[in-house]
Symmetry: D2
Subunit: 430 residues, 4 copies
Amino acid sequence: MTDHRIAPDLVAAHNQSRAASQAADYQALGEHLSRRGIDIETVTRKVSAFHVAVPSWGVGTGGTRFARFPGIGEPRGIFDKLADCAVINELTRATPGVSLHIPWDKADPAELLAAAEAYGLHFDAMNSNTFSDAEGQALSYKFGSLSHADAGTRAQAVEHNLDCIEIGHAIGSKALTVWVGDGSNFPGQSHFTRSFERYLASMGDIYAALPDDWRLFSEHKMYEPAFYSTVVQDWGTSYLIASTLGPKAQCLVDLGHHAPNVNIEMIVARLTQFGKLGGFHFNDSKYGDDDLDAGSVDPYRLFLVFNELVDAEHHGIKDFDPAHMIDQSHNVTDPIESLISSANEIRRAYAQALLVDREALDGYQDDNDALMASDTLKRAFRTDVETILAEARRRDGGAIDPIGAYRASGYRKRIGAERPAARAGGGGIV
Amino acid sequence: MTDHRIAPDLVAAHNQSRAASQAADYQALGEHLSRRGIDIETVTRKVSAFHVAVPSWGVGTGGTRFARFPGIGEPRGIFDKLADCAVINELTRATPGVSLHIPWDKADPAELLAAAEAYGLHFDAMNSNTFSDAEGQALSYKFGSLSHADAGTRAQAVEHNLDCIEIGHAIGSKALTVWVGDGSNFPGQSHFTRSFERYLASMGDIYAALPDDWRLFSEHKMYEPAFYSTVVQDWGTSYLIASTLGPKAQCLVDLGHHAPNVNIEMIVARLTQFGKLGGFHFNDSKYGDDDLDAGSVDPYRLFLVFNELVDAEHHGIKDFDPAHMIDQSHNVTDPIESLISSANEIRRAYAQALLVDREALDGYQDDNDALMASDTLKRAFRTDVETILAEARRRDGGAIDPIGAYRASGYRKRIGAERPAARAGGGGIV
Amino acid sequence: MTDHRIAPDLVAAHNQSRAASQAADYQALGEHLSRRGIDIETVTRKVSAFHVAVPSWGVGTGGTRFARFPGIGEPRGIFDKLADCAVINELTRATPGVSLHIPWDKADPAELLAAAEAYGLHFDAMNSNTFSDAEGQALSYKFGSLSHADAGTRAQAVEHNLDCIEIGHAIGSKALTVWVGDGSNFPGQSHFTRSFERYLASMGDIYAALPDDWRLFSEHKMYEPAFYSTVVQDWGTSYLIASTLGPKAQCLVDLGHHAPNVNIEMIVARLTQFGKLGGFHFNDSKYGDDDLDAGSVDPYRLFLVFNELVDAEHHGIKDFDPAHMIDQSHNVTDPIESLISSANEIRRAYAQALLVDREALDGYQDDNDALMASDTLKRAFRTDVETILAEARRRDGGAIDPIGAYRASGYRKRIGAERPAARAGGGGIV
Amino acid sequence: MTDHRIAPDLVAAHNQSRAASQAADYQALGEHLSRRGIDIETVTRKVSAFHVAVPSWGVGTGGTRFARFPGIGEPRGIFDKLADCAVINELTRATPGVSLHIPWDKADPAELLAAAEAYGLHFDAMNSNTFSDAEGQALSYKFGSLSHADAGTRAQAVEHNLDCIEIGHAIGSKALTVWVGDGSNFPGQSHFTRSFERYLASMGDIYAALPDDWRLFSEHKMYEPAFYSTVVQDWGTSYLIASTLGPKAQCLVDLGHHAPNVNIEMIVARLTQFGKLGGFHFNDSKYGDDDLDAGSVDPYRLFLVFNELVDAEHHGIKDFDPAHMIDQSHNVTDPIESLISSANEIRRAYAQALLVDREALDGYQDDNDALMASDTLKRAFRTDVETILAEARRRDGGAIDPIGAYRASGYRKRIGAERPAARAGGGGIV
């Protein structure tokens, strides 16, 4: 039996007060879409079935190198985090999966499974961490981990990843995401080829230990924490990794990890075409790896990514099964609210992409009718699908207005009383 | 009596076939907005009153340095261009103003006025050209114009601008937009300060000749055609120009003229606050000064710009009257279609910005409620206002679906028969 | 009498072993420069007189939001920092000024002065900090400081800046540098104009308290820690601040605080021309505000900045007196070594800029001889002036090879024994 | 017997007047390098053996989409171009190879060979052109070429490339460089995957026709002339092409074709490691594909690229034989001067890279001594190798000061008299 963090009665009452307005909006959109030849129910069902994982670390307040300003009720450990994740899923019904970060979330697997089950959650991809030194760690990652010049340090980093697989195996995860900060801050500091050879060898050791039904995601990033070169700097290198390692290795695309102006949806298409699209870390950004809330800065870009995904589904690409996960840093909002909102935005982009008239689009593309092709995407994008998202939530037991319901629930205040205040820090992520 | 380029009957018949669907959409949105406390009629009236000027050069097919691929029916001169501009306005009722580019559009003022009147058009800001050499020009602009090291070349460029004012004066224009490509391709080629002093002196001469009721717009651009430095490289320099020259000088913001990642809406706010926002060249871009169709790549950015404009209106900023103009290069579309579509996109952003609940937003801003502040903008943006735009067009005599009506009219084919085929060229703009 | 941190005997012995090679190099370069009409001694004297301040926080190991990996012998407080700064100056003779950061460096002014005097140091610009919350601070800067929506928070931030002035006044500083992270992470979160009005009012209060012989530097930055908008986002806004406040207010340029591809040397020229160039934070960067060692990634850019400074001196610009300071984050090097090296790189760029044949350059610029103008700068840049820098150090009592001498001295090991090990942290700056 | 375009006597006299100074510089540097354990003669010999090809189109004045400002004596066709290329090689002795662009350079192979032989030149890689429409071409490339939706257009583009191979075969070329502008200006205009499949099929047809001893270079570019997506947008896609096609297919890196801030030298390392580095188009850039003179904006970046090349040689990478070619647009200089200067800059970077102490560097890299690793590169870079370059030219019969000799020769004036003035155009390349 589910351990509700938000009282179902509260959600029901909240929905009741919005029911008439929601019904009117839903009916009006249904009629409008019907005039466009689209069945709203098909869209709503697909949205309802679409889930995106939340990262355990996302429910804590993030920070920059300059400062971190914690909020009240910061989670004290993985079980507080799971409780907060449960709130998000109860209100959105979009986020039953939680992605753990080791070592921070290390705990007894049985207890993890029990807590998740009680909350109606499960565990998504595992994330290893070799970009900072854990307490008591023998060798430092200051100068790298999987690509470190020192064999002992590399072995330690490999061992940590094997640990992550073992924990994940015990709790039902099916993937390991590897992101390393390895790189250099000065021209000359690292030898590009020797570093990458070492990285590939380390990843080979990890790959060898991967269960048969697991996937290994390599995640590229242009820069930060390394500011001159990064070992896995772009999708080209990530593709080399995945194709060197083997079929269980795929590429993970974090939307904020690219050079300025890069066409990300095209990378998605290329990796899809070559069978190497593993999944996503969703977020938004304006400058660098800003880790802002998904869809908050450039919602059309998010739509264009989903346009590729829906197109791949539409064309029945074989073995196409990208993982969806949010990866954001919530520095100025209540993290629970940001994750609720981001899950909605991701579903919004998906719903909009479902509205694209793909037969018409194919025709415009073949005819080089650029204007109508563009308009076909824009038309889908500008359709206000909020009522579809709300309907999917409502039907699945979530809230028509999840932020409103969350605020009405007093959850944050409640955990603020339960959990001791966190210290403001000099920066960083947790 | 208006010389219709598209038969009113055709538009009427076209609208008739879409009337029921439009009425249903409009009523549904009206009810939805009413539930949000917004009167749709107020919005529709404001949209109807909103106009954006089209550039005479925009109706010709544009190109890059690599190639220009003309379409059929390319305009042979300013009178063909005016005819094409008339089509855009007849269908959108959003673009009665046309902005001329001298020397290309030079013609007898009386004939220009007569043609414009016949089409129901008028003349917007004048644009001088000193970024290329006109046939028979005495001195070359290869190394600059208003900032050229040679006094004679500067004088020639000033004289050309005075010409533009004179022509504009005769045809009812009230502003001169000055954009120069002056700059350098090598570190050391130009002395930054001496060049800028010369530029300021030249602009001072132009300013001195400006009629009292005119404005002088300085337009900044980061790079291209100069690839190391540009004399008016950003809004900071543009502000220095406008404040040095005097109250009739203001800054013009072309959305594609900034460094990657720059927050353009913030520049709009700063110039507004300091009384120097002269106007806009609307377009969209992904990489550089791509001159793509407005709203085609990042529609939320366009909305955020209009959010600033509506906010300034809302707060009753004194003497706030920015000029709105499209400036795009239509390389792969029928230019008339792109201008129709872009005028709609610009109105769309305006309509969405009108839907922002500004009292609520002010409150969220004062309370540092970042999430709800963001959502307040997003909520306005995601409202599908297409039916409002269509209604404004319909009521003003335009087309519910202007692209559809344009294609149905056969206009392009007709002028293709009238006008001789243009030669494919090695590149460039015309 | 100076309290030497590095034994003068060690430096002397070290220099002795390099004396012959240095003499040979110096003589050869002198003869080469003489053939180019340049007197090496004039250059060496100017280099010797050129100083750049080091930041107190620069001697500690920096970090990113992901991690900080401390080295051995991390300074425990301002007095340890001053000791480390003394090492840098003893070996380079280029860095007698130290710039303090309050509250971290707060201490009894008399003790600060005594320590500085003992080390042959003095205090450069003061730096306030309102981008993180100090222990025990009443109101948080989570949502801004000088521009905060709340008057009490703004007052607290102003008060902190007045404190900085007071401390600085007591220890002989003559300037206050204000950099704030104020901004927003979401479109809509902040009202651009109201925020900036509040910022200007707060800065007005600080300006009013400034001693007559002080300067107030406003430092712009495109982004980070705020990732959608920043109140002082670029030099245009910084100029508006400085010109609104008055003649004692000027703009400070940090080389890493700009949008991609921006021509920084041109900003330097504009601020110089309009009397608002206050000074620099030197560093280098490839992606964002990477805070890498000066000249390590793009040494020609550093040269081009100095080319502007030497040009301004050459043309006798009135009241031209920019402050020079290093501002870097040393994440993977011994901070003392990075500061030694960076001071040398900055002097190198200055020395190279002194070699530019300015009369020839003026002529090429007036003749639009882009190739020879470029070559004139490149010729100066490619001259290997290392022997000039070494000679200036040697004559002033520093080391011919300061990194070599530092390593030979065993200083790091010594302080490693004296100072307790710092804890590896979750990220951030200190 | 060589047909000299610049009288050997003139070069000899010119050198004579600089001989003493050159000898003194060369001796001084030799002694300095000797103290660093480097034999100057070894470096000079390697520089002498290093050649870079010039592009036939580079000797004409380039332009932008806004304008092209021709100089005097513009080449009228391929034979004028070869004459100008001869000048460059006679003075630099660095550029015996000329790279042709079809259709512009189409001519009788026997005549081409005869002319080249007379000038002491040979033919480097062939370049096809499907980014603009040639006169009389049946089908337009407005919407693409090798990836066009229409099979006929693709066949025409393939056929053109086969032509290029045939011509190249007749004149001794051994490579075909394929760069296409194919892409889109609007989201939705092209289907990424279908376009790329068509591109791969077309390239497969070309590859099949390649002689056994030829290589096929695919050249990526982020954007321009397409402004939303480009089929071969980055090295990742270029790698997919080369690995799909086979061993004779490799990737060509144009230094100006990347996103802002991208680490290009790392791409060079990755392609080298995976056996797919085909060669380079050298130039420099600050903003986009600016096509500025090599080394004029960021000379250290050019050095870092050569550092990778010399490192690969040093480590004896198998089958490592990248092609070197200049690809620039000379808009404001005499193209001959820019090519002379660029050839020198490229050799300069090579010479500096030869000075890197690779054993020491390896050690610093293995020890994570970032500062000394950086300094090892910087030390090589800051060595003034001009005298080595001059010596290599002098010994091979070129000019100590090739720009000076060129100007003294009066060549430009002479061809200005011979060749009719070109018309200033509306923009573009030729």
